[in-house]
């Protein structure tokens, strides 16, 4: 694809949250991502769409898969990609998030891909910098590209969203993945359930347009997709759930519990997995699992997002 002749896809400069994008915008991203799945499967993957553009990955939280996914996505599109190792930089010397961002902004990047442990951090940056900001996960708020890649994975298997039942299981309270997925799947016409002990559900979850279940027995019944969330082990010390053993007994996904869902139900997990805690290995690696495919879709979706946002950059090929 050349840089000219690319119609605009998104009505925004940044991708900060799924909550404020429309279903139409989401579908356009998914359609574009399909093409990048094909591109990524070619021997020669190099595109020229972002040639000459600079992408900075600013990760204030350690992340192997999301950061490398964004890096590969940018590079396949021809962008110059730089990873900021924030732990070793000025931030640990007391510089604030905004100071760091302004410093990088002064170097004229076109994209800032940000992950930060505080909710709203991407939004704050977007108010202050001139480049396009992509939220790669902010605190317990949102992780929009994860929701898009999950939706793409689901669509490739189920062909459509309308009428599907997706059960999101586990630590919904602390999960930005769950929030973004709830918002996106709702917009796409999916019937979303959350399955978790009450201590791991955010207050007011009933108003998010989801069915709330406290047991896998009811929550997985008739589900087309079982989406497991990572249980943060550091939160396991008594305050939210009593023990790993107990959690596994009631909320772990194994071959037995998976039988409650539809026979062709897809098993998903945003990773990294705690095998034997929220998900058994035989299920994670079983025929119903699409976990590795999610990773592949991640690159394609991020290529699509970078491409779409680049069209809104002045002089970005949108003329």
């Amino acid at each position: 694809m050349t840089r000219d002749a690319r119609p605009p896809l998104l009505k925004r400069q940044h991708l900060l949250a799924i909550d404020d994008i429309s279903s139409l915008e989401a579908i356009r991203i998914l359609d574009l991502a399909e093409r990048y799945v094909e591109v990524s499967r070619q021997t020669d993957k190099r595109q020229l769409v972002l040639q000459g553009r600079t992408q900075v990955n600013l990760f204030f939280e350690a992340s192997t898969r999301t950061q490398s996914s964004f890096e590969i996505a940018g590079k396949r599109l021809g962008a110059d990609v730089m990873n900021m190792a924030v732990a070793n930089s000025a931030v640990s010397k007391g510089e604030t998030l905004l100071d760091t961002a302004m410093t990088i902004n002064a170097m004229q990047p076109d994209f800032l891909v940000v992950r930060h442990p505080s909710s709203g951090a991407a939004e704050l940056l977007a108010q202050k910098v001139s480049c396009a900001v992509i939220n790669a996960g902010d605190g317990q708020h949102e992780h929009p590209t994860q929701a898009l890649l999950d939706a793409l994975t689901i669509r490739r298997h189920k062909k459509q969203f309308e009428g599907l039942i997706v059960a999101i299981c586990g630590d919904v309270l602390h999960s930005r993945v769950a929030r973004s997925n709830i918002h996106l799947l709702n917009k796409l016409g999916v019937q979303v359930r959350v399955v978790a002990p009450s201590t791991l559900l955010p207050s007011g979850i009933g108003n998010f347009g989801v069915e709330v279940h406290r047991s896998m027995e009811t929550g997985l019944k008739g589900a087309d997709v079982v989406m497991m969330l990572r249980l943060q082990l550091e939160r396991m010390t008594g305050a939210f759930v009593p023990s790993i053993r107990e959690y596994y007994r009631f909320y772990g996904l194994n071959a037995e519990t998976l039988k409650i869902a539809k026979p062709d139900a897809m098993v998903m997990h945003p990773g990294p997995m705690n095998r034997g805690i929220e998900i058994d290995s035989d299920v994670a690696d079983g025929v119903q699992s699409v976990i590795r495919e999610q990773v592949e879709m991640g690159v394609a979706v991020r290529m699509a997002v970078l491409d779409a946002l680049s069209r809104n950059i002045p002089g970005g090929g949108n003329s």
């Binding site: 909550d19 604030t96 998030l97 905004l98 930060h116 505080s118 909710s119 709203g120 951090a121 939004e123 704050l124 902010d138 605190g139 317990q140 708020h141 949102e142 930005r176 929030r179 955010p202 207050s203 007011g204 979850i205 108003n207 998010f208």
Partner: protein, 438 residues
Amino acid sequence: MINPAKHSARRRAYVNANIVAPAQGLNGKGGILIEDGWILDVGPKVTKDSVGASATVTDCKGLTLIPGLIDMRVFTGEPGTEYRETLASASGAAAAGGVTTMIVMPNTQPVIDDAAIVDFILRRARDTASVRVAPMAAITKGLNGEMMTEIGLLKEAGAVAITEGTKPVASANVFRRALTYAKDFDLLVVQHVEEPSLSSGVMNAGETASRLGLSGNPAMSEVIMLERDLRLVEMTGARYHASQISSRHSVEVMRAAKARGLPVTCGASVHHLVLNENDIGAYRTFFKLSPPLRSEDDRRALVEAVADGTIDVIVSGHDPQSADTKRLPFAEAAYGAIGLETLLSAALSLHHNEGVPLACLVEAMSSKPAEILRLETGRLAPGAPADFAIVDLNLSWIVEEDVLRSRAKNSPFEHRTLEGRAVETIVAGESVFAYARS
């Protein structure tokens, strides 16, 4: 605490005003005659003709004249963080807001936990501030919640109450002792009502917090601390004031406690009376307050409680913060908003839009705090200090950074238009602020 240097030797009169001083039964046309910083006469009989040539006369042209406001909850940066606010800069903001007495909190560096620091504040205020300043002192040394301060000496030095300001005394035992001891000195104990183990969240718990991915601070944390404290008050008989309540449940608890005859009072910040959690919008840190802004239902309950007197006092909670503490992700940003300059204007919106009687608002910001703190100000009566404000109830003004006199600019009303404001403020007979109409 009248500062003699500021007294006016001249006899002056403000006439043709709409005087609203409900505690003195004044509500209507009249004037005020002052001399040497004191009120000589006030009421309908004070007119241009009655004072004759004996005084300089100002015609208020029908504007409203109210007692100078007493703001029971003000933080400054002096001593310790003067780059945020000094007593002088805060007093400039106060004067512009019709506030003639600021009650400053002990959360300074060093903490106001020693008679010498009370003395320092009073001397700095005398030398630099344009309005009256009275400090509350800490309940415990260093605000650590452990060792009681020298409550008697602090009172002697001029502390008007004791409080930990932004934090509660968590230990029921320490708080019980402080109440018991303070009672012997008849000193008011002021508590920030929040159960610490329940209040780690950064905004009101609920759907909005869940959507923003922010940790929630439930209203229950306030109610639990309030109910505990009320039991301790029942046990000790000390005078107790909850500095700010923020929820419907707390209103109900206070209403019941007052009906039982306990010596308790409470306040609410004007921010909690006019704003709610939805104002946080896209992580706007100027709306990050402690206690957090709560739901619209809670806000309405607070407004009703002001109208029926369950909430005694309205405060600004003035808390200057700068970019280094506010331009951060929401969870990391400091709590607090400035409010001295907008206290009256924001409170007036309750009169304009929600039918709260003006007299009720004036009482909650003048005579009630004066009564609770046993101050001689806050009333318009012969023999009282001449502290008052002339207010244009309908004057619209826009809150912008360059208009605000506070050194810090963290106002949640930034860019908003407010209706009504002080156009002249008089402290001890001296005009300390006059509004320049543009």
